[in-house]
């Protein structure tokens, strides 16, 4: 029975007999690492290309088909001191990449056209004041048309498409007035050129497109960066399973290639990676990541197990089931779908503004046209004034104002260790006034720890730790970590489900269940004082010691609760665990409001109740059981250790062992929203000044150019104020 790692799922075959694999690399943080990796990999024979990407922390490796096993590449990287994880490119990320490049191409074309047309326009403007001849002016205008028309046809695509989509759906979005403004301005300018007029609006139309495309590319860049990090995290979690092949071989394969019906082997102390039914073996599993319950559940043949649970002492063989068949997950999935549906779709600030703005712009332009006609102006002059209104009101500032704030805010959040999943999360986070924390894995760290290590003599701890290394039980692993044990005690024997026995200096030492060691009284005493802790007993000769193992609160949990209250947030605990355990945490954090034994449906109902009272709820949770409530809340966050479904349901994911990113995210989001509002106010003021000028017919192309570029620069500068000046936690 061999145990090999199968990476074929990740290898892509490109033309000319070359194979390629993309790896997410942990710890590649500087330029030195980059060259070390590239040089280190190129010493492997038959590697044709190794290229590190420092921005998204990935390495692309190519070799001649069949010349080398990709596992060798991973081994070489770990020799160099880097952990690499195979990465599945393609899908959403590839589409995002295409979109980014397309927007950049559009921006380049629009910027090129604007610069050159501006060159010609400024000549015309200054010539109009002095001695330009009509022939020269026509020549300049003709050239401008020659540049502007094809450039607008290419660079305007993102707006034209979106406007057509909106109109087809009988909607108005910001792209409708933009498209209308650009097309009318270009059309009118062509007519003016043909009639040898002294003004043309080619430069205004192109400048509008350039500024708006700059805003769009910024927005797109932020989204792509977030997605790349999220993709790396998924790869770093290295979700693999050990699959039992038909011939009895064991192969480590990525989860994506496991099919329902496959048999998967789960060794003791491993996290179960699939949903399925146990077909062989018996064990105890820790379901805290899934249900929030800290009590271990006994599983045997025929029991359903869920992805994300931690296997205890026994080896299990699990037959993979389609997740829909598993009852608990089925429940969660159903609730999740309902919650997502019911979530009253939050209207983004920009969309809300667009909804008010677009009809207003159209009405103003139309009434300008009618007004001038009634006042006795010619059709030509009336149309020029109406188009000038469209151009000047075009939401240049709006199109740049909110993306610019968003990119600065997401950069700040990134620095605070928060990754955004949803584009509008910043705005929703800013409105939050109540925070609900899940207990297990959110307020506490997901890994168990020995909490009374300081009370145990150090020599006892050392031996216990070495003995613990012989066991694969998760509780034993906690003891080994606490003792910082390096070498297992020679000759130690594990009795599955009970404990480990060994001999040290001629004295028998035993580590295991209190009942196995005959230490029930001590264990009961511990249970009475700390109901949440699991007891592990240790005996050396006649000496007896009890280790209390449990999940510890995150180091800054109390500080975060405190700061949340300072930010004016109401804090409550919403847990699926038993009351005694939740009460204990509530007391430690000085929280009066806590709810225990909540099922996913209870949690949703409670959130709905709060929302009905008009409160804006931020849910912070990590368990699979939290996923529906994350989707039901106004905003949601989950730690990076959370179950996959949960992370997808959350608006933002935070990194690290500390909880402080939660309050920091709220603080940054509030600041960002304030700046967004300021920018919108600025846009309104700008329009109040500029629109009358346009309606009265004074908006020459020169005025339009100054107004547009001036307002765009101002809102971008204002957006930068979100940066820096973070108050300490």
């Amino acid at each position: 029975m061999s145990d090999t790692r199968d990476l074929s799922h990740f290898v892509r075959h490109i033309e000319g007999g070359v194979a390629r694999i993309d790896l997410a690399v942990e710890g590649m943080a500087c330029a030195g690492c980059m060259s070390k990796i590239e040089r280190g990999l190129s010493t492997l024979p038959s590697i044709t290309r190794a290229r590190a990407n420092l921005t998204n922390r990935r390495v692309a490796v190519e070799w001649n088909e069949g010349a080398i096993d990709p596992v060798r590449v991973l081994e070489r990287l770990s020799e160099l001191g880097f952990h690499a994880y195979p990465f599945d490119p393609g899908g959403a990320e590839a589409a995002e990449e295409q979109e980014t490049k397309f927007l950049l191409r559009c921006l380049a074309v629009a910027a090129f056209a604007t610069m050159n047309i501006m060159l010609l326009s400024i000549s015309v403007w200054s010539g109009n004041m002095s001695d330009i001849t009509p022939e020269q002016r026509d020549f300049f205008h003709g050239l401008s048309a020659l540049i502007a028309l094809p450039a607008a046809a290419y660079a305007g695509q993102p707006f034209f498409r979106s406007a057509i989509r909106a109109l087809m759906a009988r909607n108005l979005n910001m792209d409708v007035p933009i498209t209308l403004g650009v097309l009318l301005a270009l059309g009118m300018s062509v007519l003016e050129t043909l009639h040898h007029a002294s003004q043309a609006y080619f430069d205004s139309a192109m400048m509008l497109l350039t500024f708006l495309l700059a805003g769009r590319s910024l927005d797109q860049n932020m989204r792509r960066r977030t997605r790349a990090v999220a993709g790396n995290l998924a790869a770093l979690k290295a979700e693999t399973a050990i699959k039992l092949a038909a011939n009895g071989d064991l192969r480590e394969v990525p989860i994506a290639s496991v099919q329902p019906g496959d048999i998967v082997l789960v060794r003791s102390g491993e996290r179960i990676a699939v949903d399925g039914v146990v077909v062989e073996g018996a064990s105890e599993i820790d379901q805290s990541l899934v249900t929030g319950e800290t009590t271990r559940a006994t599983v045997g043949k025929g029991t359903l197990v869920y992805a994300g649970t931690m296997n205890g002492y026994g080896t299990l063989r699990v037959r993979v089931e389609a997740s829909a068949e598993a009852t608990f997950l089925d429940d969660v999935t159903r609730l999740l779908e309902k919650a997502v549906e019911a979530r009253s779709r939050y209207l983004r600030l920009a969309d809300r503004a667009a909804r008010l703005y677009a009809p207003l712009v159209h009405v103003t332009a139309l009434s300008t046209l009618v007004g001038w006609l009634v006042a006795g102006a010619t059709w030509h002059d009336a149309t020029v004034a109406a188009i000038a209104v469209l151009i000047i009101t075009c939401p240049c500032a709006l199109g740049l104002a909110i993306p610019a704030v968003q990119i600065v805010a997401s950069g700040e959040l990134f620095r605070a260790g928060v990754l955004l999943n949803a584009g509008d999360a910043v705005e929703r986070l800013a409105d939050v006034d109540t925070v609900l924390f899940d207990k297990t894995g959110t307020l506490t760290l997901p890994e168990s720890e020995v909490i009374n290590a300081a009370d145990v003599p150090s020599d006892v701890l050392e031996i216990a730790g070495r003995l613990a290394l012989a066991s694969s039980h998760p509780l034993a692993a906690a003891v080994a970590r606490a003792a910082n044990a390096q070498s297992p005690l020679a000759g130690a024997v594990e009795e599955p489900g009970q404990g480990v026995r060994g001999v040290n200096d001629g004295v028998e030492v035993v580590l295991g269940r209190p009942s196995f060691c005959g230490a029930e009284c001590e264990a009961e005493a511990l249970a009475a004082s700390d109901p949440e802790a699991s007891a592990i007993a240790f005996i050396r000769g006649g000496e007896r010691h009890i280790f209390a193992v449990r999940q510890r609160l995150r180091s800054d949990a109390a500080a975060v609760v405190d700061r949340s209250q300072k930010l004016g947030l109401a804090v409550e605990i919403l847990s699926g665990d038993r009351a005694a355990a939740v009460e204990h945490v509530g007391r430690m954090l000085n929280l009066k409001h806590w709810h225990a034994g909540m099922t996913p449906a209870n949690k949703i109902a409670y959130i709905a109740e709060l929302r009905a009272e008009g409160r804006n709820v931020l849910m912070v949770g990590d368990g699979l059981n939290d996923a529906p409530s994350l989707a039901a809340a106004d905003a949601s966050m989950s730690p990076v250790t959370a179950a996959h479904v949960t992370q997808t349901a959350a608006d933002a994911v935070f990194l690290g062992d500390r909880l402080s990113p939660v309050t920091e995210a709220v603080a940054i989001a509030r600041k960002a929203k304030r700046v967004m509002r300021e920018n919108l106010c600025f846009a309104i003021v700008y329009n109040i000044i500029a629109v009358p000028i346009a309606i009265l017919g004074f908006a020459t192309p020169l005025v339009a150019a100054v107004a547009m570029s001036g307002s765009s620069i101002l809102v971008t500068l204002n957006a930068l104020r979100v940066k820096g000046g973070r108050s300490p936690v």
């Binding site: 060259s35 998204n56 074309v109 050159n116 060159l119 001849t133 020549f139 050239l143």
Partner: protein
């Protein structure tokens, strides 16, 4: 002022060259890793290689 008839198109042609250059660099993936590219410019791998060969 007839000189404009060929000077202006020439200026445009030069601008167009710049645009084509940008589009080419975008297509050949030079904007994929902005952070890494900044460091690659000042990396002195080649110097090491020469030193290892014993030459200068």
């Amino acid at each position: 002022m007839e000189v404009l008839i060929y000077l202006v198109p020439m200026a445009l042609g030069l601008g167009l060259l710049g645009l084509i250059g940008f589009l080419w660099s975008l297509k050949s993936g030079q904007y994929d890793d902005l952070e890494g590219a900044a460091w690659r410019a000042i990396m002195d791998d080649d110097v090491h290689e020469i030193a290892e060969d014993g030459g200068r």
